[in-house]
Structure formats: structure tokens, C-alpha cells
Symmetry: C2
Subunit: 516 residues, 2 copies
Amino acid sequence: MNTASQTPRQMRRLERREKRTSLPLLQHSAAVPVNPWPPVALLSTDELQALHAASLRILREVGLRFLDAEALQLWQAAGARVDHARSHVWIEEELLQQCLATAPQEFVWRARNPQRNIRVGGNAIAFGPSGGMVYVTDLERGRRVGDSADYENLLRLTHMLPMLHFGNWEQVTAQDEPVSTRHLRRLYSGFTLSDKAMLEGAQGRIITADAVEMARIAFGGTLPAEPVIGDVINVNSPLTYDDRMLGGLITYARAGQVCIITPFILAGAMSPISIAAALAQQNAEALAGIALTQLVRPGAPVVYGGFTTNTDMRSGSPAFGTPEGAWALLAGAQLARHYRLPYRGSGSLTSSKLADAQGATETMWNLWPCVLGHANLVMHAAGWLEGGLTVSFEKLMIDAEQLAMFAHFMRGFPIDDSSLALESIAAVGPGGHHFGTAHTQARFDSEFFATALADRTGYDSWQAGGARDTAQRAHGMWRQLLAQYSEPPMDPALREELRAYVARRSIELRDAQLFT
Amino acid sequence: MNTASQTPRQMRRLERREKRTSLPLLQHSAAVPVNPWPPVALLSTDELQALHAASLRILREVGLRFLDAEALQLWQAAGARVDHARSHVWIEEELLQQCLATAPQEFVWRARNPQRNIRVGGNAIAFGPSGGMVYVTDLERGRRVGDSADYENLLRLTHMLPMLHFGNWEQVTAQDEPVSTRHLRRLYSGFTLSDKAMLEGAQGRIITADAVEMARIAFGGTLPAEPVIGDVINVNSPLTYDDRMLGGLITYARAGQVCIITPFILAGAMSPISIAAALAQQNAEALAGIALTQLVRPGAPVVYGGFTTNTDMRSGSPAFGTPEGAWALLAGAQLARHYRLPYRGSGSLTSSKLADAQGATETMWNLWPCVLGHANLVMHAAGWLEGGLTVSFEKLMIDAEQLAMFAHFMRGFPIDDSSLALESIAAVGPGGHHFGTAHTQARFDSEFFATALADRTGYDSWQAGGARDTAQRAHGMWRQLLAQYSEPPMDPALREELRAYVARRSIELRDAQLFT
């Protein structure tokens, strides 16, 4: 269209339409935010020491089970007391401290696109999408078992959303793919549809070995010195590391890839009911797994993860977004800092079945503590519903805007002569207004966080626009976003090599037992 | 019903019904929570000083307008430079500091029921309901102009909800009452339907004088030494105190009642667009009003209020629950602490038209900073919608539960031998579970925050229960609550005296101009 032939009115209309389609959610910074303020500390030094001392006693006196022969051998070789028949290991403080000494305080997680590398540690707070869901839901199609198309669409959205800093992850299981080849397809899509830092389930040795191999291909044939892939190692609390997780831990750590050691504790079920006990146990479990990564490969990148919340004692269900969970998040961050380790928290956890008020408040009970406590990796930061069974396209949008708000919040605001604008205050004086001043006009478009989702119109306009709630507004947004997706560039030779790897391994793994 | 004749199964059913009707929302503590952790500080000492210095320059060089003759005389008598023709006052630092020196660092706001007295200051964080709404909404009747029945129902709910610590307030205007007598009816209902600490609009001298007189009656004929009533004094920003607010300020301060001095600043409209300038101006405005209360009566209880947020520059509407608002809340708290003054924040501010995800997230962008920054009085802590035009019965319930969660959060968790439960951890060992242990069973009912609103059931149960969202669940809750309301006791003679006062003044004020 030739702008010269348009009236000013037509041009304004066009500009407005342009603005509408430029998707404000994509305008936010993609930089990993850094929290400039000291982390909020719940625990006194004495309390921190009490938790530390209690976890040392658990490691030494109670011990843990490691259901994997190689893990038991590693512990024995390092001098721990091991009961092979019972797969039981007791860990003394000295050995623990030796192991912790080699764990890096922070590291860089490389992405295929170097601009999307993320720093893990310090005061950097990186957000990633949800993972591990069985169901997917959106307002049009409703709740259903996830398939490849859903998995790939969630990947595309994660790739596009600038406030998600990492994480091509198995957001939803592609149930239409055979189990034996699912991870291969998942990795292929992950590496080709997005160029952000990659996660792949630490489920045994086969999947993780394939993940490392495909990462090697995606990175041009040689793994970089920094890690490029990894995932969560969940402890089977209380005090048990199962064979799948240990196979994943050993494979990733040996390859210098990321292990995010995360006890999964619902206080009252997997630990004693009191949060102090849950934290002491969490700490013992996390430190044991972290130590093991260092026995596998000193210096292997590792993250201290916390996923401790309470049980709903009436129903036996997990309770997410609770005061107890917030305590655990903040205290867990303090513990990780005490050991000079990066910390992993979780963002959008909720039991709600809808992207409604419960979904939002429970999410905020996680996100605020993550930001305040300096959780370096905030996993599941957007899209969770239903205790992690379902990922919601609409909640992904709603949470993503919250993440962008937190990133903006962490930038803080300058206090200097220019921002204090005393001449402007004097010039307007009492009783005037500041809409039209040069100071305000110069910053009109850029000063404030620009919301894509909040409706600030008057009641009548809102009614006239269909009286839509937040989730309904978010629905249009993700569809619009997906429509604008374009694949990030990749060397065709690498892509072909990935494809060939998948083809070859798909045949090899046809009848394999994967989770060993 | 004779329990002896019941089967165990019937008894369990009865107990369950009993539990359902005992309204979990009423089980929470009514104590004003105290934040045990240091307040979150955004500003460095230098930044705080820069804001302080900028506001001193505004007071000295730009000055403020005080649109009330008595206020101008007070300033002049105290030695300030006053331009009576322009109602303009310039304030030097020395005078300001003299005034601030007599303002109390904290005080007790007395309620008719002494158990409901609230401490204002220190690390105590008291929550109150919304005020000043024109419309009221609930899921059954929809949005409508408020009337006396709505006003009284909101009063009853405020009275019952233990997490609302103060505030019989004009939550919604009773449009069915004539303007001239509305405040009299409002005060009468406030004093009789609830025994919590009372607020009454600081609108000129007549309303506030009636408020003080009726408080005197309600408190048995003599005002206690501590304040028993008061309200917000909004600054007509930029830099203007209007006649209504000054009449209220002078009347309340003279009677030793509470003035909550609150500049109402939307950055970009009532102040320069930058948050630093908005805060410098807020600080100048707040300090000027606080100083005036001390000129009226040295030692008068006064609160430093902040209500600074940004304008939505596209629509010109206020933007609530934003990162900018959170900065202002936290920095405002630091400024108030710097002057050793109690601080007032706001809780449930939102632009949303519904108790949906937007309503919830925006509310949490206020509540977290209020709690973290130690806002001593959190006004509008529950029920806001639509930028303060509408109060929602359902959102009142949703927000109230959040307040209870914050109160629980602030209690923290003990770390001691009992809570660390090392014997329990050892006894269960790796791989077991803690549901049935003596440690867990002894704390089964009391350890965790008990939610009334969050749905943690599985998807199928939730579907079978009607697939209700949070607001729908909240609807049943406030209706159930109201049905259980009973009026707090009051000496019939005092009640009669209040009634007679209202009757007499209703005649006297029939044709009065109230807002002077």
C-alpha cells in the first residue's frame, strides 16, 4: 500500500492496526533480569546453621538409598559407608564438603543462539516454561491429552516469548508418538523450532545419552566447554534416588551437562509435617545429589533445587502457592547461597483447574518469593494448571506477562537530576497537570511497563468489547502469536544430521527399555 | 438430635457438615500480624537522601496551595511564608523538622471492642476493607449503584472477617440516603453493626465534627486518650490541599484523631512521569500535610500515606498493580520509616472489572510490597474492582483469604528439636512416608494454612462439583457468612444516644452545605 496516497486519518488507522499486530508481549526485553536488591532472608544465621546441622545428621546417621550400582560404586570409591544389599549410603561431613568444593558457584548455560545463553547463579533470575504435563488445555478445544502438535506449538510460543529465557522442554507429552522414539522427536523439534537453552528429561542413561549426542550435533559436532543441555533430577523423597534419575544424573554430569537436583517434598507426606523438618530433609537430599555429580565429574554444573510445599491434609493432594511453600522457597534460596550454589525455584505452580483468580494468586505466591529470594532458575514459570497435570495456553500468556513485569520491576528506577525533574514540578506548580510537559512527553511511550493483557478501559467500553475476562483476552493473544512464528535459522547440514540421527536411533530403539 | 442414637457413619457425616458450616474463613487469627523480617529496601541511603533533598526543595522553592483560611493562618503563625491571595505556602526545612518531631512514631487506634484495638506503626501490618466505591457487584445481582443495604452488608462482613483488623468504612456509598444525612446513618451503622476501629471520610468540618461527636457517644461520653476515628486526607496532587480535606484534617487533628495523609499521584498526570519525581513530590506533599497536623495539635496521630502509581499513558487511566506502583509502595515505606512515621499502603487495587486473574495479579502486586515493606495500615486491602469504582462481594472473600495467608506467612515457622523431627525422619527412613507418624498426626489439623477457597480436588471431582471458578466459590461463601452474622453487643443507652444524635442532626443538616 502506498502511504503517499493515504489521508492522515487512514494513516492513523493503519498505524493503530500496526500497533495492534505488533504484539506488545513480544516487545519486552529478552535479557535475563538481575535482582539488584539483597535477597530476602527469612532465616537467622543460627536458624540456617540449625538446618545445616540437622541435614548433616540425616546424611551421616539416616543415610539415603541410591538405587543404581554405579552410583553406589562412586560413593564407595569416595570413601562413604555403603550397604550394597540395601543400596544404602551414609555420608560424612568431610566427604560432603570435599564434593561441594568443586561445584561451580555459577555457570553459563549455552543456547544454540549465543544471544540466548543464560547465566545461572549470582543475582540473575532466568525464567523457563512448564514441563512434564500430560494434558493441555485452551479455551477453544478444552482439556485433552497432549500430542505432538501441542508440544510443538508450546515450543514455538516459548521460543517467541522474550520473558522466557530458557527451556525447550517437554511441556506436554506427545502421546501420539511411540514411547521408544518420543525423546528423539522431542529433541529434534526442540533444537530446530527454537534456539533457546535446551532441557531434556534426565530419565535414565539412554535418553540422556541421545540428548547429549543430539546436542553435540546441534552445536556443530563438538560440545562447548559450557553446558548446553540438562534437566531436573528429582529425589524420590524421602531420601531415595531411583535408578532412572541416577542414570540421568550420571550421564549428564559425566558429559559436563546440567543437573538440577530437586527433592520433591510435600511436607506431611514425603517428610515430617513441619517445614523445618522438610527443609532439613530437602537439604540433606539435595546436598547428597549435588555431591554425587561432583564424584562423577568434579566441576560439573549443578543447581540446588527446591520443590518443597505442604500437603493438603484433608485431601492428601499437594498444596501449591501456599505460605508454607513461600517459606520453603525463600529458606531454600538461603541454604543454596550458604553453599555457594545456584538455586532453582518454581513459578506458576497452582492446583487450579482454570486460569482464574486461584491460578493467579497461587502463581504469585511462588513468583514473588522466587524473585525476592533470587531463584536463579525459575522453572515452570508459566502455564501450569491442576498441580502440574495440565498446561494451559491461556495461562502461559497470563504468566508470561507477569514474568515480564518482574523483569521490569528488577530493573528498578533511576534517581538523578533528570528523573527528579524538579524544573517540571516547579513549572507546573500546584494544581496543574503533567500530561503535556516536555519531561513527560519525552518519556511517554517508554517509561512504564506496557501491559498486553490488563484491561484498563472503563466499564462501558469493556462491556462493549465483549466483557471478556483475562483468560479470554489471553486466548486471542497466543493464537495471534503462533500465527507470527517463524523458525530460527539452522545450518541445513546440522538439521539433516539431526534428522539422520533420529532416523537411525528410532530403528535401534524400537524395542528398547528406555528408562534404565 | 441425640448423638447416642446415631451410627458412627451418621456421626461422621454430621461432623463433616458441621465442619462445612463452621466457615474456615472465620477460623483465622484476628491478631494484627507483625512482620518479623527486616523491611525490603529498594533505595540506597544516597537515593533516600536524594529524594529527601528534592522534596525539601519542592517545599521551599515551589510550595503548595492550601485552600483553607485556617490552614493558611496556621502556617503563617508558625513562621512559613504565606501568600494569602494565592493560598500559597512555602515551607523551610527547619519548620518542617520541628513539626515532624512531635508526630508519634506509632500509636494505638482504639476500637469499640478493646480486643480489636490496633497498633499503628513498627512492624505491625493491619488490613482494612475498601472504601469510597460508587458501585457494588456480586455474581447474582450484578453491578449496580450501592445502597444502604449493600453498605450495611459490607459492614457486617468486615465485622466478621478476622483478617480485616480495622475499618468500618464507607465501602460503598448508600445512594438511597439523602446526602445531608448520609454520614449520620453511616456512622450509626458503623458503630452499631461492628466493633472494629472506625473510619469516616475527612470531608470538611461538619461531617468530621459529627464523626468525633458520635465517637464520643459510642465510647461512653468521653473520648479516650488514644484516637478512635479518622480517615485519609488525600492531596489534590500536584501540591494542593483543597478545602474539604483541610477541614477534615484540622477537625480530626484538633480532636486527636487519625489523619492518614495520602498524596494521590498518578505519575505522568499529577506528577512528572518518572517515579523518582513522583516520589519526591509525594514526599513533599505528605510531609506538608503531616506537618500541618502537628501545627494543629502537636502529637496528633498521623500516618504517612502513599498512593503513587503510574498512568496508563495510552488511555489516561490509572494503572494499578504495576511494577511502578510496587516501587512506589516500597520506596514510600522507606521514606516513612526515615521520618519515623507509620506508613499506609493499599492492597487490592486493580483495574479489572471481574474477580479474575487480572484482579488477582494486580492485587498481589500491591499486597506483596505492603507486607514486604511494612505498610502499617493496608487500606483497600480487599474487594476493589474497576479502579475503585466498584466493590465486589466475591473479591472481598478472595482477597480476605489472601490477607489471612499473609498473616500466616508473617508468623514464620519454628526451627527447633521438635519441628526438626529428626527421630521421625530416622524412623521412616528412605522410601517410606510420613502421613501416619506420630509427629505428623499430632499436627495434622493445625500445621498448615487451611484454605477455604482454593480448590485442590482432582479434575473429575471439580467437574462433578460444577466446575466452578474461584469467584463462583466465593459467592456461596459471603452469603453463608452473612447468614451467620450477629450484631456485637452495645449498651442500649449508648445506642439510644447515638440514635437521638442522628435524629437531631438530621433535622439540623437538612439544607446544610456539608463539605466545608
